[in-house]
Every structure is written in structure tokens, then in C-alpha cells.
């Protein structure tokens, strides 16, 4: 924890935030937002939150930026610059923002000092997790054990949130007929017929390595930063990379829409299913220790560790499928063909 570094990163973050809001071109805004996310990721590494940083790097700086690109690509880069109207909205927004700021500043004066080891937050619950995690679950990465076991129920619904988001995007955008409710011409002529051999070659060579790394991230989440979410997003990203450098059709050839939906379902189902299995074996929901009855040669503690691995795999499958599905729907404007 070096406060000079902390402060300079934070300053850059604020500059990026201003720039994203002010810039008139949406594509630039998306790029600056990517930089913003990446700075966030540095900030969190610096504060010791490596798992958060990893997730931010893959989700915030990676997928979010790609989604912004896809959306801007499908609509327009232009932000209209006419300086009229909206004064009322601006004044109101400014008032709301200032009021919120003021209230939060007042609350801030009561906070215990930043980074002090004697705050209630570091004295009440966290010592238990830090001292007991290895003993209870045999998982040295405390974030993984809290995420997948102590608070595993949150994480199950977190997976369900992603699944919901994927379905929601399908429900909103997907068009099954060619001209369903749409009289407008295609907004963009997609720059087809510009195959860049170098990019394609590199992307194709890179993809298997990215996928291998993703599997490592999933499998090694117990011992190092990473886990189902990060691994799943990276797996999804490897497909998106191919979709960008080649054509979405190629990816749809490998991962059809049905397969995507099915995989998303199966992922969540693995998670909920493991929880349900615990119920059937007579323990509470998601109490993995009871899995030692069915897993050979495992005691209760190792059963927890294995249970967590199982749900991480489920999470990875679901996240991968949904990330691909959201991207393909947005880039093809719901028609699921080209882009």
C-alpha cells in the first residue's frame, strides 16, 4: 500500500471519468472508459484486492468495452452538439449530484481512517474468515472460500444475474423474422471484405492459448487469484476475439444460439444442482461438507474444496456462454447472423 501511487492512480481515474463524460464522440468515450476500467484494475491491485482487479480487468476493461464498441458500431458515434434546452435537467442533475456529494461528505467524517487495521470492518467478521478459511475448507485463497462457500448463496444468484442478463438481451433484441417491426435501413454498412490476414492469423494462433489460460484460471482459483467468473469471461473473450477478427458467422458455426442458451442453463444448473444434492443428502442447501458421502476418499473439509471447484466450473460455463450470447446479439442487432 503506497499512498503516493494510490493518489496518482485516483487522480488519473477522475480525469478519465471527466473525459468520458465530456468527449463528443461515443467511440472515443468507449475507449477512454476502457482506460478508466483498466486504471481501476491497477488501483485494486495496489489495494490488495487482486481478485477484484482480475475481474475488473476481464469484465470491466474487457467485456464492457467490447460491448460499448459493439453498441456504438450498431448505432452511431455522433453525439449531437446543439446547445439548447435541457438547462432544467442540467441544473436539476447538478443539484442532485451536489446534494448527494454533500451528504456523503458528512457521513465520511465519521468513518474510521482509511487503511487502518483497527476499523470495525477488519475486526468484526474478517478475522474469522482469515484464520478459519484454510482450516474449514482447505482453500488458501480466502476470497474464493468466502465467495464460493461462506457466501456461496450470493454467488449462485450472481450467476443467475448474468444468466438473466443474457436472457434479457435475447428477449429485448432478438428478431426471428427478417423485418420484425423494423422499417429502417441497416444503420451501418459493415466493413466486410477487408480481411486482414495478419490480425486473423494472430487471433487464430492466440485463441487456444487464451482458452488454456482460462481453464487454468478456473482450476487454480483455490490457490491464486481467479475462479469461475474470470475464467468464464476469458473463455468467452477468446471466442469474441475470433468473432471480431473473422466474422460472427464463424463463431455461430461453433457455438450456435441453441448451444449457447443450453450451456448458460447447464452452468447455472450445475451450481444449483450441487446445492440441491446437498439437500438430498440431508444437509442444508449448499453445505458441501455432506458431499463426502458420495465423493470417494474425501473428508468433510476436502469435500468443501471439491464442491467449490464444481460450482466454479458451473459458473465458468454459464458466464462463457452468456458473454458470447450478449456480444453476438448486440453486434448482429438481434438477427444473429453477421457482424
Amino acid at each position: 500500500m503506497i499512498w503516493q501511487l494510490d493518489l496518482s492512480i485516483l487522480t488519473l481515474i477522475v480525469i478519465c471519468a471527466f473525459a468520458t463524460i465530456m468527449v463528443k464522440d461515443l467511440l472515443s468515450a468507449a475507449i477512454i472508459f476502457g482506460a478508466y476500467s483498466f486504471l481501476m484494475c491497477l488501483l485494486w491491485t495496489e489495494m490488495g484486492a487482486v481478485d477484484v482487479a482480475f475481474t475488473e480487468a476481464s469484465v470491466g476493461a474487457g467485456v464492457s468495452t467490447v460491448l460499448f464498441f459493439a453498441a456504438v458500431h450498431q448505432t452511431t458515434r455522433r453525439v449531437r452538439t446543439r446547445k439548447s434546452g435541457r438547462m432544467l435537467a442540467k441544473v436539476f442533475a447538478l443539484m442532485a449530484a451536489l446534494l448527494t456529494g454533500l451528504v456523503l461528505i458528512i457521513a465520511e467524517t465519521d468513518f474510521p481512517g482509511f487503511a487502518s487495521p483497527f476499523t470495525p470492518a477488519s475486526l468484526h467478521l474478517s478475522p474469522y474468515y482469515i484464520t478459519q478459511s484454510l482450516h474449514d475448507t482447505n482453500v488458501p485463497n480466502i476470497v474464493t472460500s468466502v465467495l464460493a462457500d461462506y457466501r456461496g448463496f450470493d454467488t449462485m444468484f450472481e450467476t443467475a444475474v448474468i444468466f438473466t442478463a443474457g436472457l434479457a438481451v435475447i428477449a429485448i433484441l432478438r428478431r426471428y423474422k427478417r423485418d420484425d417491426r423494423c422499417d429502417l435501413p441497416e444503420p451501418y454498412v459493415i466493413s466486410e471484405g477487408y480481411p486482414d490476414t495478419i490480425i486473423r492469423f494472430i487471433a487464430r494462433q492466440l485463441a487456444p492459448f487464451i482458452q488454456l489460460f482460462a481453464l487454468y484460471v478456473v482450476a487454480h482459483g483455490h490457490h491464486s487469484p481467479g475462479g469461475g467468473f474470470q475464467g468464464g469471461v476469458i473463455l468467452g473473450a477468446s471466442f469474441i476475439l475470433l468473432a471480431i477478427s473473422y466474422d460472427s458467422r464463424m463463431i455461430i458455426g461453433i457455438m450456435s444460439e441453441r448451444l449457447n442458451i443450453l450451456l448458460g442453463n447447464i452452468g447455472v444448473l450445475i451450481y444449483a444442482g450441487i446445492g440441491f444434492l446437498c439437500l438430498l443428502l440431508g444437509a442444508n442447501f449448499l453445505d458441501y461438507s455432506v458431499l463426502s458421502k458420495v465423493l470417494p476418499a474425501t473428508d468433510k473439509i476436502m469435500a468443501r474444496s471439491h464442491g467449490m471447484l464444481g460450482i466454479e466450473i458451473g459458473v465458468a460455463i454459464a458466464v462463457m456462454a452468456i458473454v458470447i450470447s450478449i456480444y453476438l446479439n448486440i453486434i448482429s442487432h438481434g438477427k444473429y447472423d453477421k457482424g
Binding site: 448463496f153 442478463a165 428477449a171 440441491f276 443428502l281 442444508n284 442447501f285
Partner: protein
């Protein structure tokens, strides 16, 4: 595994699993979607009823998820208050899902599997929010119900997308404020478990940060429940949503938010803190007076039937917020009873609106003309709902309003009582106007002759039966409201109140 012992978690897990199943089966054949959806919600309804009975017999239940002891793991806590809300939520969604059969076929024919999956996930989210005893777990489920809500509303007609976008922006502000409030509690106490917070917080009551935490949580939930003046997103979103989605979203989302407000007030902070120490009661009761009056007046100004109902929701939210902040036992009882009653009344009216849309294709007031002759049963059920909304005995609406007025008198807040009476009067004018259009105004036919025989043309049974059931239940709850109060609600009102 015993069903009774595991019921607290099963009531959330059964719908979750059935949502996944619906989606998978939807890839095979769309006809399987509805039966699985109904079964899932039925299972959850059974589990809620079992849990409520257990609570009435033995007192509050705590369920440890993952087997971890409470402040470290996540805990489900079911007491009289949320047991009642759970049964209401699952009952309303059961009726709404049965109703949806025909209207989904008509309005979103291409996306039936997605619709039902999102529909059940919304129910899962609402039930999960109600049952949890962990402040952060509540946020995750809040987001599930929010995301499904955005998508279900966006599936409606052309203007629904813009309405849904506004809902996304405001809904996210609301959820983020809630999260930030929980963060403030976390930084001050180090805990996320509600019961744990209740024991730690009294030592910190004098600090501004704790007060601001409550303020942030309240504003966040108020946005979610569309408490005036934070209601901007609601009327358009609920008006243009597909009618099957409206029947689920409109009765439940605002009511569950009201429940959460009461839960935070009583089980995270204490009655002592919210009613005495911070002295916000007076302000918030005045705010709800404004909400009730302006909601009713705006409703009066509408020519669109469905939009009129949405403004009535805004007014009803004012009833419940005001009742909860009256700081009197009768007021709180009324507010809790009104959560149940209002969910059923809103369901009744939205089911009716759904039937009108199905039959007539529109939701203007003029579309109702002449309906008494064509659909006598539907209109009879609607009349019960309308009477309950006005507050005519023996319908359920009368009793909760009665307790709210008693509470206002106990607390000496006569302006709140006046607002309730004015709003009842406006409701009466409003619904008699509707009934007049539907009853007396003859339908303009191309012949214009009165001799023409009116053919009775009721909606299909899957739409009619839920409407009849909900209308009957309004009367039944009205008749048994005394029992509900003595057996259930009384136990959730803290003893210290007047």
C-alpha cells in the same frame, strides 16, 4: 431431506430450478413452458404456506445456508411479517402465471420460453428478497428482480423500450443507493447480517454516518417503490409492459419494496431509532400525504385506463409508507395488512385490464364501454376490486384503511387521515366514472339499434378463473382480517409501540 424443514430455501430454489427447466424445455417444445412454470410457482406457494404455518405454530425460523452460523454465512429468517408477504407473493404470481397463457400467445408469441424464464426469475428474486436475513444478499436478489423487470417491460409495445430505459437508469440509481447505504453500515459495524446489525448499531446511534446509511437505504428503496416524487419511471413502464408481465410486476414489486422498508426499519434499525431518535416521522408522513393526494389527482386526469391504475399505485404506496412511519401500532398493522390487500387489489384490476386488452386490443377508458352486458362475470369481479380500492366494507380494502385511519388518530396526524379520506373520495369518483362508462353508456353499433341482441362474450377460462379467485379472496380476506391480524400481523408489530 424433509420438505417442511427445508421449505425456507425450497421456496426460492424450486422456482429457480423451474426457470432453468422452462428455458431448456423451451428449446425442445414451447408447449412445455407454461405447465412447468405453473408447477414451479405452485411448489413455491406450497413451501411458503408450510413455512408460514410453522412460523405461526413455533415462532420465527432461521435457516443457515451452507450450514454456516449466521454472521459468517448467509441466513434466512422467516417471522410472521415476511411469512405473510411470502404467501402473498407466491399466491399472486400463481394467479398471474395462469392468467398469462392466452395473453402471452397474443402479445409476445415469438419469445415464450424467454418470457416465462424471466417471469419465474422475477418471482424468485422477489421471494428471495423477502426471505433473506442478510443485507447484501438482498441487494443481489434486488438486482435479479430489477433486471428481469427491465426485460419484461421492454418486451411490451413500441413505447415500452423508452419507458424501460428510464426504469433502468432510475432503478440502477435506487439499487446503488441501497448498496451504498449497506456499505455505510458495513464500514461502521463490520457486519452484513440484519440481526447482527440490530445488536451492534445501538452503540452508534449518535453518529451521522449511521443516519446517512438509513437515509441512503430509504431513498434507494423509495425509488424502487415509486414513492412520490421518485415515481417518474413507474406510470409509463407499467402501462406499456405486456399485460401478463404487468399483472406480475405491478402488484408485487412496489409491495415487496414496502416490505423491505419496514424490515430495514424494524430489524436493522430499531423502532426506537426510526421513530424517536432521528425524528423523521413528521416529514415522511407529510411526504406520503403529498404522494397520496397527487397520485389520486393524477389518476383522475388520465384517459388511459391502465395509466390511471398506475397512478393509483403511486397513491397506494403513499398509504403504506405513511402508515409505517406513523409510529403507532395500528398504523403499522394497517400498513402491513395493506401490503397484502393492495397486492390483491392491484392484481384484480390489472387482470381486468389484461382481459380488456385481450378482447379489445386497447386500454383507453372508451374501450370499456358496454362491457357489463358482454362480460358480466368479468365486470362483477372488477366491481369487487374497485369497491375494495375505494374501501367499502366488507371488502379487504376497507379494513386496512380503517387501521391506517385509527393509526393516524392515535399518532395525532390528522393530515394523514384527511389525505386517506380525500383519496378514498377520489377513488370513488374515479371508479364510478369507469363503471358508468362500462355500464350505462351504450356501445355504438353500426346499427345503433337497441334491439340488437348482446352476445355474452367472456374471456377464456384461464383468464377468467384467476380474476374470479382474486375477487373472492378480496372478500374472504376482508371477512377474516381480524384473524389475520391477531394471529400474524400482531406478532410483527414491536411491543413498545402504542
Amino acid at each position: 431431506m424433509s420438505f417442511v424443514k427445508q421449505a425456507p430455501v425450497l421456496l426460492v430454489i424450486i422456482p429457480l430450478l423451474s426457470a432453468l427447466l422452462v428455458n431448456i424445455l423451451g428449446l425442445v417444445n414451447r408447449r412445455y413452458c407454461l405447465p412447468v412454470a405453473i408447477l414451479g410457482i405452485l411448489g413455491s406457494f406450497a413451501a411458503s404456506v408450510v413455512t408460514l404455518i410453522r412460523v405461526i405454530e413455533n415462532g420465527a425460523i432461521s435457516y443457515r445456508l451452507g450450514g454456516w452460523p449466521p454472521p459468517f454465512g448467509i441466513e434466512y429468517v422467516i417471522d410472521h411479517l415476511n411469512g405473510l408477504v411470502l404467501v402473498t407473493v407466491s399466491f399472486v404470481s400463481l394467479l398471474a402465471v395462469i392468467f398469462s397463457k392466452e395473453s402471452v400467445k397474443q402479445e409476445v408469441p415469438e419469445k415464450i420460453p424467454q418470457f416465462y424464464t424471466l417471469f419465474i426469475l422475477l418471482v424468485t428474486g422477489l421471494l428471495g428478497m423477502t426471505v433473506t436475513g442478510d443485507a447484501f444478499n438482498l441487494y443481489v436478489l434486488l438486482e435479479i428482480s430489477a433486471l428481469t423487470g427491465y426485460a419484461l417491460i421492454a418486451m411490451g409495445d413500441n413505447r415500452a423500450l423508452v419507458a424501460s430505459f428510464n426504469y433502468v437508469i432510475l432503478g440502477t440509481i435506487g439499487a446503488s443507493f441501497y448498496l451504498l447505504g449497506v456499505g455505510h453500515l458495513y464500514i461502521m459495524t463490520g457486519s452484513l447480517n440484519m440481526a447482527d446489525l440490530l445488536t451492534i448499531l445501538p452503540g452508534l446511534y449518535s453518529l451521522n454516518a449511521v443516519f446517512i446509511a438509513l437515509l441512503l437505504i430509504l431513498v434507494g428503496i423509495w425509488i424502487k417503490m415509486a414513492f412520490f416524487p421518485l415515481h417518474g419511471w413507474l406510470p409509463n413502464a407499467y402501462t406499456y409492459a405486456p399485460s401478463a408481465a404487468g399483472c406480475l410486476v405491478a402488484p408485487l414489486v412496489t409491495k415487496v419494496s414496502v416490505y423491505i422498508m419496514i424490515r430495514i426499519m424494524l430489524s436493522v434499525f430499531s423502532p426506537l431509532y426510526v421513530y424517536s431518535i432521528i425524528g423523521l416521522s413528521e416529514t415522511i408522513v407529510w411526504m406520503s400525504v403529498i404522494a397520496i393526494i397527487s397520485g389520486s389527482i393524477l389518476a383522475l386526469a388520465q384517459t388511459d385506463f391502465k395509466k390511471m391504475l398506475t397512478y393509483l399505485i403511486v397513491a397506494e404506496v403513499g398509504y403504506m409508507v405513511g402508515g409505517a412511519w406513523l409510529a403507532s401500532a395500528a398504523g403499522l398493522t394497517g400498513a402491513i395488512l395493506h401490503i397484502v390487500n393492495d397486492a390483491l387489489m392491484t392484481l384484480c384490476l390489472f387482470l381486468f385490464a389484461g382481459i380488456v386488452i385481450y378482447k379489445k386490443g386497447g386500454h383507453q377508458l372508451q374501450d370499456l364501454a358496454g362491457l357489463y352486458k358482454k362480460m358480466p362475470v368479468t365486470m362483477a369481479a372488477f366491481t369487487v376490486g374497485a369497491l375494495s380500492m375505494i374501501g367499502v366494507p366488507p371488502t379487504a380494502g376497507f379494513f386496512s384503511k380503517w387501521y391506517l385511519i385509527l393509526g393516524a388518530i392515535d399518532a395525532g396526524k390528522y393530515h394523514f387521515m384527511a389525505a386517506l379520506l380525500v383519496s378514498s373520495l377520489i377513488n370513488a369518483i374515479l371508479f364510478f366514472k369507469v363503471i358508468e362508462i362500462a355500464y350505462f353508456e351504450p356501445k355504438v353499433d353500426h346499427h345503433g339499434g337497441e334491439t340488437e341482441k348482446v352476445i355474452i362474450d367472456e374471456a377464456p377460462l384461464t383468464m377468467l378463473v384467476p380474476l374470479i379467485i382474486v375477487a373472492l379472496s378480496l372478500i374472504v380476506i376482508g371477512l377474516y382480517s381480524g384473524d389475520i391480524i391477531t394471529n400474524i400481523i400482531q406478532h410483527s408489530v414491536p411491543a413498545g409501540l402504542l
